[in-house]
């Protein structure tokens, strides 16, 4: 994952970027709940000018999966 992507997510979560890795998700980042998940998705879509479907975005299991899906769209 590149730094720009990680920083974007860290900014939404308002946490230190060093806490994020590919395995980061709702179970190991306490700030990451469903509300923040959708804010993360919205920010990624806005920044990279792409769109995830709702079911696709709801199924992401961790940050690595989001990043991989993003790579497939840009």
């Amino acid at each position: 994952m590149n730094e720009k992507f990680k920083e974007l997510v860290a900014q939404v979560l308002e946490i230190d970027v060093n806490r994020l890795s590919e395995s980061s998700n709702t179970s190991n980042i306490s700030e990451w709940d469903s509300l923040l998940h959708w804010e993360i998705i919205a920010e990624i879509e806005r920044t990279y000018k792409i769109k995830f479907t709702m079911s696709e975005a709801a199924a992401f299991k961790n940050l690595g999966e989001i990043y991989a899906a993003l790579q497939g769209k840009i």
Partner: protein, 298 residues
Amino acid sequence: MKDVITLIEKISVQDQFQEQYLKGILDTLTDLEKHSLADIISFFKAQGFDLDYQTRAYILIVQDTMKEQKYFFDHKKYRYSTYKEVAGHVYDDPEYMRLYMVGLILSQYFWNIHRSMMRHFREITKGVSGKKYLEIGPGHGQYFADAMQNMHFDEFLAVDVSATSVEMTKAFVAHTLKNSSVKYDVIHKNFFDFDDSAQFDAVVMGEVLEHVEDPLSFLKKIRSVASENAFIYITTVINAPAIDHIYLFRNRDEVLDVVNRAGLSVVSYKEFTPQPSISVEKAIRKEYPIDIALILKR
């Protein structure tokens, strides 16, 4: 408690965020709340809504709310703005309304923001008394049943524009207060059809203003049916999208302004956020949902 645990397990299988969110949820509930939740689940089962139905209902409200939240993050506004746009697929669809109401009542226990509001209502209404009590839009009936248990009025009246809500409130109250002699009625009526000469010593309206196109008219109507020293309790939401929210309050001042314009004064207010870790200040800054409860006077 077996059904409560099974329900949580069924929900957790279907939604990864709820799986995380509901972990340890029972530790955050008081013994009384756990008992009430178990009773509600068993009441719904007796009504023919088994645990699978209740799971579907809860997941529906979670997913619909998240879909609207995403829309809100994208567009900074609610998807719909007129009653007509939402009436067809929500209020006038009995199957959807039943699912919605079942899901919503479960959220009173599962969602921090709704649980905090429910606790606040129970706390501030304790011992309030008078002759006539009115609730506008009881929805699932939880607050109406609470009012009858917490407050002392000669008669309690609830009015709802949805036939499904009227039916659910009647059933819920009949179940919750089965051995009570409190006088009450639940009627299917548009609040605006109320005669202004009817006067109530308490008027309660939880989360209705965001469902109407013209909140000012609703508040003016409340003022007209409230007796001089009436206890008036209103709640609404700020930046809180949902499938049937059409009036967007963007901040606290917009809520206070419409209240004042209706000729009502604010005695006090309290705001609630989705998580204890999200302060009101942060919720305002990031445009996260806020629930606001206001005690008003004429």
